[in-house]
Assembly symmetry: C3
Homo-oligomer: 545 residues x 3
């Protein structure tokens, strides 16, 4: 938890220095940058800053100032609830002498004197500040956790993304992380959270800033939909109106690369939001890059994104954002299991497993954690539940272990039940060299809220048939009222993207839509076209086998 | 935004007067009404007031007092967090000498002395205060934006409604606006919001009061349902318990006139809420008027409400409530497009278009904005998202424009797709002179969350068939599992209300229910009666054609 | 409302004593336990305590200390927003001289001096404090409201449960009450709320503590599901992180005894929550007791839980928890009506009706209130709406009366409509000596949100057929897509639990699940097994009649 870390950070730092004597008025104010203060608060300082926000409390007036190296709350007291220094307004640049105080991990400055800068000083200060911000945001690229083509080719994108994220923190800009609602998505979101939250805590010298300036939440759909975008925009606009916040930097993880995300991104940009995308899903044409600050996706550099999970990308990115980030080393392997990278690129997976092992995470444990996260994500749906997610990701490790030991057997039993239900209702037929396994969910699925969900069940019967019957050329299709979910083996020579094109040309009035990876995805259609869609899918398989 | 406006108002007013010297104790306290203070806070005042609320902060004790001309927060400081003047309790009337302060658009008074009034003074003061409140609430009727019978006949209702709303503001009573969840409903709610929020800001001399004392939210159904009523009541009771708030005045807009709203209104009244209704929907019998403070509906004065939208009524009402209301002139035309008043009463529509044009809103732009609001309302569902709605209604204008330019083409494409889906599944037959177009949504509708929704799709195929085939006597019926949605042309001699009566008498065990306008509405029935209902609908059309 | 009560309590207590003179510094500090202070705050005291929480406000620093007899907020002021006594940290034990203050029903202490205890004093103090807490938590068992075997056999469980709940309050531990979402469940939850809230108010000398340290909310399902558990855990973990709260004591009422609740309980325990269960539902095997602090259920002592409602148990428990609890005497009879205890054990019901009558609640009124609560619970779903629920339970009585007078006739009309719908679609056949009444809801039920809900409708047609036709051996089954809801007469020799076993062995791939009482319950199955399930149910009835 950021709280604990932060506390330690401040306490420790305090012990390093000499305890300041706040009560004695020595008359000597040392000139300091705000960023230097956090670690050695020896009493009295003189500093300059831009006033970002003025908050009148029932006690003192609080001026939130920033000089590019950090933010600090300066308090002026002219009587309880009385506005002190009314001549100073938001956006002003000031020079102040302050005495420092600390409590509960926050450092604040008591104003002794505060004055506005002259116009010349003002302009000079802003120029310096901008340069300082750029310098601070600058990234020193670390070694990647493992070696690989994908990472090397994307290195510059990582640097640029990390720089932009660091700059947002430095400029007190709220950050929203929106991720796919599955284990890979949660791994992505959490790796970023773990890198960003401590930076925010440091920037504001405050434990609570993590709740004010950071949100992580799953998307409802496998896209960043217009609905998500409107919601993020609306809440941000409210925070601007109520709390003088800035419009956010939004990071979309394990989603965001496809044309389906475009409208949502453009919508939020109108209101002042900016975007960074970290995705590994396929897109036909890149319409996203020109609309966002940075776009990271293996397909952008000619690599196959289905062989590299978003959680891997985000864990590596986390280390660019925050060189001191802790406990993200096991996340790539965890995310890899969830997205079956072990099948797509066993070599990279093996490397990440090595890294995870050093942290005490075995293959078996990672697989179980991945399972539990999938289950919990289905339960919490769109709630953030930050502290609960922390436990799932090993903070603290002993509770993570207990949780996995309790829930994994439970989920295995649910999976076994789901598999049984599905198997007794699956129909398999041979089409050319390929086997097609059909599952009509309307016949047997118990309904909304049931775990495992149709996509997972389809994956399970798909794996199961290969294991039990040794079938290697297999397409499994779960059919629902207005959609189907698909898994295919390499040998089946299948392609979700090609099937979508085929269906769209053969039966345009089914209004087919969909996406995913080559061997795994889902397709929607109109309810009264279900039969024809299944028939055409068979034709499609026939044509490729 | 109220925030900006408010700030300007205070700043400007301050500049008019001489900056008070709060530190110097001159000994002279001018007698003032609270309402006079806002504009000339020259230092020290003596005032009387009733104590509505006492809030103990961690700093001073805050006494919220009102004298009928306004509310003011008076602060007494007896040590941090210590209760000052413990002899003064809520409901007491007091005389106080105060020094004034201002910050962030709020004005507060520092108590120098404060004493309770004697019993005689108390009673005298309350009598004066009541009269002052009445005087302040009094409305000076403005000219209507356009001339028309409907408005003239309803003028007294407008005056009465505006007076009651102004009185609620003056008495620190929270106001809840609940409106129909479509463009006309949003137009209605927003016009009222724009009139009321600045009054609340002024009354409390506070930017934040707008969030405390005002809520606007759409209803889920085309009625103010018991569910809405229980929710509003429960939240209000909580605010009473936690914050000593009063029970609210609830304004229902573009809903509320029909017997279906009655139970909900009565439920909330038990707990102390009061109601004002502004609607234009048809009702068989007026059971509402006797249960509410004011009821506004063209049908009450013998006019056809389907020829005058609720947004028109509310925009006119807004000008009665607040003579300084800004930017509502284009709302009637906007709402008119949404509710197709251009078909019902082209003359009034033309007049309102003239008014809107002066504000720079062309017919085309209004039609596009109306479209975007319809789309966004489907997306935000029951969230308030006040600041986002402000953008949609042109605050600021440039973002409204960008949003419309981005979203309108997107929505047109969605509409085109919805229309195509529907057209390829529509069945048309001739019954006597009338054409009946049937759409079975279960066959082709992609499901919950899809835009356009069934009601809109039915409207689109209805319009489309008229345009493409030149059919003028047409009834279009979208059939769902337990309901149908209907659009009819004047020439078809249809009536939703008559059909409901007919079905109810022919097949009582279908438990038919429904409502709307003569030529547009929806009807519910039991699932196993769908076939018979469609057959009987054909009989009904036959009988009238 | 706790607020009012609390206010009265403090005001009254103040009047008992002499108003303290806080301003005069007499130099004499009387040694006191915190718990003694509430009733006689005569100026200045010396006390010891453990620091549970330190809150830095924008004014003073607040130290929340406890000595086992109560909690008190001590304020130290070293300048606005400045941390006072930085040498004192959470978990320290301290000795303090304070001056007392009161406002709005809260009592706080102004620190004159405060020092840490020595190690020896510290250990000694904690030992005493633990003993004091135990002593304070000790329960003096009251007489039960009525005599009966069930209660006598469970007496020790009552004492143990009440002691644990009192201890949680004393230790500033939040309490969450989770109850079944029906009238019996609400009665159970509310009886506990009414007992616990005043204790929390007293413990913290604060009106607002009731919102901080207590939550009551219905469960979604007839179990305490893993979803509920994750939600409760996640919110509690957030409160721990943000507010230094403790993990909660969770009381499950009218749910919680069955194996279906086990996983959820274990999940929350991992994170530090503890449980008390008060239920009356049947379980095959008790797997709960060993996992909770206390388990109360008639079946644990060889009694039939279907003849004693959870509301009865909780109303009795409420009197153990808080000897001064008010207005719970009518709750057992109310809950009894809702769960038809009048049919199961008319004798106990008669006794509770006697008790209720003394409070002015007639049989008719109780039956109507029960009806209204059922209706409202369907409407508010999972919202807490504490203050609204208070009105339903007679605070104040006159509004309860008005609400019942308004809503009961409305609900009777809805019921009548629901009954009519169902009757015209019910099919009855004779199987051996037993009559089976089948209701296929898919044919006639208007859908989600409709009141009465399928379970209630099934109960109504079940009762109605007995009344109208004099049938005494009757099983009524409401059939939905993937579930059925069942009511049976004693004479039919039915058993929901036996039917579940039977179906599970006859058709395992229907994946049957379910629960309830012998004569009333519900069963789920896979959608494509509906026909076979109905056929097998007929076989089952045949085999037992």
């Amino acid at each position: 938890m950021i709280k604990k870390n932060n506390k330690k950070f401040v306490k420790k730092d305090f012990k390093k220095g000499v305890k300041p004597d706040f009560n004695k008025s020595s008359g000597i104010f040392t000139k300091k940058k705000i960023g230097e203060i956090g670690s050695v608060p020896e009493g009295k300082f003189e500093l300059m800053g831009k006033v970002n926000r003025i908050i009148q409390t029932t006690g003192p007036t609080v001026f939130v100032v920033s000089d590019g190296t950090g933010s600090l709350q300066l308090k002026g007291f002219a009587g309880a609830g009385e506005r002190s220094y009314p001549e100073i307004e938001e956006e002003d640049c000031v020079k102040a002498k302050v005495k420092l105080e600390e409590f509960n991990g926050e450092i604040e400055g008591d104003i002794v004197t505060i004055t506005k800068l002259s116009d010349d000083e003002h302009n000079e200060f802003l120029k310096v500040m901008e340069q300082v911000e750029k310098d601070r945001a600058r990234v020193i690229p670390p070694e990647f956790l493992v070696e690989g083509n994908v990472l090397n080719k994307l290195k510059n994108n990582f640097i640029e993304a990390a720089t932009q994220i660091r700059l947002a923190v430095i400029q007190d800009r709220p950050i929203i992380v929106r991720h796919h609602n599955d284990t890979d998505g949660y791994s992505s979101g959490f790796a970023l959270e773990r890198a960003i939250l401590p930076l925010i805590g440091k920037q504001h010298s405050s434990e609570k800033a993590g709740w004010e300036f950071f949100t992580r939440a799953p998307c409802a759909a496998p896209f960043y939909e217009i609905d998500d975008s409107i919601r993020d925009t609306a809440l941000s606009l409210r925070n601007v109106a109520k709390f003088s916040n800035k419009m956010p930097l939004i990071i979309i993880a394990d989603n965001g690369s496809s044309p389906e995300d475009l409208m949502a991104i453009k919508q939020a940009k109108i209101h002042g939001a900016d975007f960074i995308i970290v995705d590994h899903h396929f897109f036909d044409k890149d319409v996203i890059s020109e609309n966002v600050l940075v776009h990271i996706n293996p397909f952008l550099v000619g690599e196959d994104g289905s062989k590299f999970s978003a959680g891997m990308l985000c864990a590596e990115l986390a280390r660019f954002i925050n060189p001191d980030v802790k406990h993200v080393e096991f996340i790539p392997a965890l995310a890899g299991f969830a997205d079956r990278i072990d099948l797509g690129d066993p070599v990279i997976m093996e490397k990440y497993l090595e890294v995870a092992k050093k942290e005490g995470y075995t293959k078996e444990l990672l697989s179980e954690i991945s399972l539990v996260i999938d289950y919990i994500s289905a339960k919490v749906r769109f709630m953030e539940v930050r502290e609960y997610i922390e436990v799932l990701f090993g903070e603290p490790r002993d509770k993570q272990k207990q949780l996995v030991e309790l829930l994994a057997p439970h989920i295995h039993a649910l999976d076994a039940k789901g598999l049984m239900m599905a198997k007794s209702n699956a129909k398999t037929e041979k089409i050319g060299k390929t086997n097609l396994q059909l599952l009509y969910f309307e016949e047997f699925f118990p309904g909304f809220g049931f775990y495992p969900k149709p996509g997972r069940i389809t994956g399970m019967v798909h794996d199961n048939l290969q294991e039990e019957k040794g079938i290697t050329s297999l397409v499994s299709v779960g059919v629902l009222g207005t959609s189907m979910t698909i898994r295919a083996t390499d040998e089946s020579n299948f392609s979700v993207h090609e099937l979508i094109k085929f269906l769209d040309s053969e039966i345009p009035d089914a209004f087919v839509d969909g996406g995913g990876h080559k061997n795994a995805g889902s397709i929607t259609f109109l309810p009264n076209k279900q039969k024809e869609i299944v028939k055409l899918t068979k034709d499609f398989i026939k044509g490729r086998s």
